[in-house]
């Protein structure tokens, strides 16, 4: 399917126009926002994982010079209601500041308002709290026994959600296991494995932050936040502060990364807004890195019991996936929905005839989880791809071949999986073939075998993935599944466009300008993209789930088309031509076949704003808006291949080669796409090799700083070898699918599979992440992984 977007700048490797200001430190972040009279917040946080608050003494804090006020949870509760969630699941009462029981280390118990950040922190330290400790539970399977602790009285056995069945023959009323039981009865081979997709910390470069400024004279609130979705923030802030949405303006200035963690609306934002309104003061809170590890949501943390049934020829007959998601102490905005995506994507790229997925979400005394880059899909793909790898090993078949035998054929799209996902388009064999060719798969196998003959522990891993992006239509999102854009041709012919997408690293100021420049036939330098401010951008949902290009870009394209159409009417009047005969190119509008007739784009714009005389049926001006709602999600896919060596003496894994072939449909800017894939790969490989959030048995975080929580460095990686295949989506006019999360989804399983392959001589079938050297050393030395 040909893209209707003309390939001029679109498709080119245009450098990000955002980068010069960001690299030179000229961006404006939340912490750069300063308002006269602004006071600062600091939160006193629980240092135990579970306990009942016996007493709080704020007198010493109140006595600190420069302290405006100190509020306990009970005092906050008098004017701030419970934290809302955005999923249809039952949720316990969750307060922005705890007043009764604390359930994880880092939970706020009091808040200080003070002259500056230093005073605020000193005063927070001076708040004295006595707790009656309660038993702590950090293991989700242990928590499901209801022992030794129940976090929320209304959730016996700590089961937040489920068991929730999905897949073949599952319905809310009854579950029919006939098909899945038959699949396993007919199978020649069943591989079974318990696997853990462990907890991660999102660790954006810029931590969270908020400035809330309620102006009593205007009865209006402006709130700056490091958020991925200012319009959603506005909705919730208005609701919790008792204001109308017309009274709240939410601004996401530069946002230094989010990786999903800044979708959620956090207690600190509600508290800042509510206190600003109550005190009539502008208030700022900026998270420090220690808080970011404790109080920003974590990601992943799902364990699975996987059973895969197949015929001896490698044909998969059935998949059972029993999932236990450790969601931490509370439901946040999307917490409960994330693991459901693991069920939704359980079929991966395979035509699996019978699937039974079952999900239980569990409360434990840890930081709540929510969306983190990939959000539920990396877990699904990890479980299925590790199982496919085990199947290949069991059958003695090349891991590429066992996958190929089970692909959904390219002529069967749209394809509905047994878990209800309707894949839009795909050509999985093409991606696999490109990856095998690019990696030199047969050569790599020979290389691996030669290395092994020398006694080296070298392994290969391959994974296929499909994920779900560009979320829409509205049935799929409580916020609505659309995006909005307004394109204005200014009086001087320059173009201002707004997008409801709220980029925070995705480069949409560049890609959207490329698109409009092509569409209107003007230089990219004449196009400016505005985002992240509900006072400027009329409507929007935000940037998450790799949706900004596929949904936001489509809305921009529609709005651009509308304004072009109107401009053509003005040009037609000026040129005394038919509007259908006009050509927009090189900053001019001319009659087709008659370039000498050209009027400059700016002249036509000027005419539209002072139309003497006004063409019949036209209003003056050139500003058009569009909402776009896709008919379905998009389903990008790809194939990743890794070669890895394990040091026989130490167990240290070293990545030797990383090939990624990704299919995100049409690409607006391949350079930016590669950047997204690089970052995704780094985080996906990081999970496999070095990133893990750990807790002690008493719920104390053991990875509370970058001294203990590792994130990848560029020097940890070989040069990534990337390539794209292009299978456009029919669900939006651009044919673009989204690419922000692909790297984290495809890479993780192939790294672990490569490590297992490297250690296969020691009889190991599976090793749980992360691949600490010690863990691999134990395999080498005959111990349990």
């Amino acid at each position: 399917m040909a893209s209707p977007v003309l390939p001029k700048l679109v498709g080119q490797r245009v450098k990000r126009r955002e980068d010069p200001r960001l690299i030179q430190g000229r961006g404006t972040y939340v912490d750069d926002v300063k308002i006269t009279g602004m006071q600062h917040l600091a939160f006193k946080r629980s240092d135990i994982a579970h306990g009942r608050i016996r007493s709080i003494d704020t007198s010493a804090a109140e006595a600190v010079d420069g302290v405006e006020a100190v509020f306990t949870g009970a005092q906050i509760a008098e004017f701030l209601g419970p934290m809302p969630i955005g999923t249809p699941f039952p949720s316990p009462d969750h307060r922005a500041v705890a007043s009764d029981v604390v359930r994880y280390v880092g939970e706020p118990v009091a808040v200080v308002v003070a002259r500056d950040r230093y005073v605020a922190r000193d005063a927070a330290d001076a708040v004295t709290i006595e707790y009656d400790p309660l038993p702590v539970v950090v293991d989700p399977e242990q928590a499901l026994t209801g022992q030794p602790a129940v976090l929320h009285a209304d959730f016996p056995n700590n089961a937040a959600v489920g068991p929730l069945p999905s897949g073949t023959g599952a319905s809310p009323k009854a579950v029919d296991d006939t098909a899945i039981d038959q699949a396993f009865a007919e199978a020649d081979v069943v591989v079974s494995q318990r696997m853990v997709n462990h907890r991660l910390a999102p660790t954006s470069i810029e931590p969270r932050g908020v400035v809330a400024h309620y102006e009593p004279g205007k009865d209006a609130m402006t709130i700056w936040s490091s958020t991925q979705n200012p319009h959603i923030l506005r909705t919730f802030i208005a609701a919790l502060t008792g204001l109308g949405q017309d009274q709240v303006r939410a601004i996401a200035p530069e946002v230094g990364g989010g990786f999903g963690s800044k979708i959620n609306i956090y207690g600190e934002e509600y508290v800042a807004a509510a206190l600003s309104k109550r005190l009539g003061l502008p208030l700022k809170w900026v998270e420090d890195r220690s808080e970011a590890f404790l109080c920003t949501i974590h990601g992943r943390d799902i364990l699975a019991y996987v059973d895969l049934a197949a015929r001896r020829d490698g044909t998969v007959l059935g998949l059972k996936l029993r999932l236990v998601a450790d969601i931490g102490a509370y439901n946040m905005l999307l917490t409960a929905a994330i693991p459901t995506l693991t069920m939704t994507m359980a079929s991966n790229v395979y035509a699996i005839p019978a699937i039974r997925a079952t999900l239980t979400e569990v409360f434990t005394n840890k930081t709540p989880t929510d969306a983190y880059r990939g959000a539920g899909r990396p877990e699904a793909i990890y479980f299925v791809e590790r199982a496919m790898d085990m199947l290949a090993r069991e059958l003695g078949v090349d891991p590429a071949e066992v996958r190929r035998r089970n692909f959904i054929p390219s002529d069967r799209f749209p394809f509905k999986t047994q878990t209800g996902a309707v894949y839009d388009s795909g050509d999985y064999a093409k991606a696999l073939d490109r990856a095998l060719e690019k990696a030199g798969w047969e050569g790599l196998k020979a290389e691996r075998d030669a290395a092994r003959a020398e006694g080296r522990l070298v392994g290969l891993g391959l994974s296929m993935y499909v994920e779900v992006c560009g979320v829409g239509p509205s049935s799929g999102l409580p916020t609505g599944g659309w995006e909005h854009s307004q394109v204005t041709v200014e009086r001087d012919g320059r173009v201002s466009a707004t997008t409801g997408a709220s980029p925070h690293g995705q480069g949409n100021e560049t890609t959207f300008a490329q698109m409009l420049a092509d569409q209107l036939g003007i230089p990219m330098e004449h196009v400016r993209i505005h985002h992240g401010d509900t006072g400027v951008v009329k409507q929007g949902i935000g940037t998450f789930g790799s949706r900004s290009q596929a949904v936001g870009g489509a809305a921009l394209h529609l709005a651009g088309g509308k304004v072009k159409k109107k401009m053509a009417k003005f040009a037609a009047a000026l040129l005394e031509a038919h509007e259908g005969d006009l050509v927009f190119e090189n900053g001019t509008i001319s009659v087709k076949g008659s370039p000498s007739s050209a009027k400059s784009f700016a002249d036509v714009a000027g005419y539209a704003y002072r139309p003497v005389k006004l063409p019949e049926g036209l209003e003056p001006g050139l500003s058009e808006e569009a909402f776009f709602e896709p008919s379905n999600n998009t389903y990008p896919f790809g194939c990743h291949i890794a070669m890895l060596e394990v040091d026989r003496d130490t167990g240290e894994p070293r990545l030797l080669k990383m090939v990624a072939v990704d299919d995100a449909g049409h690409l607006i800017n391949p350079l930016i796409v590669e950047g997204q894939i690089h970052g995704g790969l780094a985080q996906g490989i990081g999970q496999a090799l070095i990133e893990e959030v750990a807790y002690s048995d008493d719920g104390q975080p053991l990875t509370g700083s970058f001294m203990d929580y590792a994130i990848p460095r560029a020097s940890d990686f070989p040069r990534f070898e990337l390539e794209s295949t292009v299978t456009p989506t029919p669900v939006n006019p651009l044919g673009a699918k989204g690419v922000g999360e692909a790297g984290t989804i495809g890479s993780t399983p192939c790294i672990v599979s490569a490590a297992v392959d490297a250690l296969s001589g020691f009889g190991v079938r599976h090793v749980d992440m992360m691949l600490r050297p010690e863990r691999l050393w134990r395999v080498i030395n005959g111990g349990q992984a």
Binding site: A42, R117, Y118, R121, D122, D125, D288, R289, S290, D649, T650, E652, L689, I690, A694, L702, T703, S705, F706, M707, D708, Y709, A710, I711, R713, R772, P773, E774, W777, N781
Partner: protein, 286 residues
Amino acid sequence: MIPTAFEYERATSLDDAVAKLAAAGGAGKLIAGGHSLVPLMKLRLSEPTVLIDIAHIPDFAGIREVDRKIEIGAGTTHHDVATSPLLRERCPAVADAAAVIGDPQVRNRGTLGGSLAHADPAADYPAVMLAVDADLHIKGSKGWRVVAARDFVQGVFTVDLAPDEVLARVTFAPVRTAAYAKLHQQASRFAIVGVAAALEVRGGLIASARIGLTGAASSPVRLSNVEAALGGQPASSETAAAAARFGGAGIDDLNSDIHASAEYRRAMIPVFTRRALDGALARLAG
């Protein structure tokens, strides 16, 4: 990440630093690169009331050779140690160790003296200082004194340094046949196990050996049983392999954390002892 309030003073000379420390009466802390102290202050694990900045004292940084001994000023950054042509030529193991400290930002700011005085049990320098048998030159209110590296560290984050004393410089006889080998902790880049080996080889035989270990135990130690096994033996890879096996035996205060168990650390000591020895022997050939 907000420290408690503190005063900041800048020392203009070593004597001035000593005087300012004495005046602070135990509540003062020296700061040079700040890469050990400031993280602790941000976490409020260290709350000094006076910071005395010694980074600007003239001649506090620098590497030179005096009377066949290498002298490194305490204020010398890890980067300058790592890239010193003198050290690369005369005692490359010291430069090797500096080159694998932390990351470039840390190496550009952090100093030799700061690292030694801080005495993190997983720091890299202590192993090398043991292997080259360094002397630490300390200036205090009562004048100068010299402490051997092996006597300097008294425990975790505890050293032989009075509240009014400044570690001014380190001296040691250069050893060319020496090397440092390290297993990185991936997050902090400190050593899970770090071993420095310095050999004196005469006529193809190992006349003497000093092996320093860091990271594995509560404080840096010499691996005397490995040293004994090397003494008088041919300077060969076989000797290294045989002697390295003794590494790890007899150490009873091994560290254990989420990154590595005590058992794993014990197993890694011979591995990195062997690598350090092989590295040192390779320099023999060169």
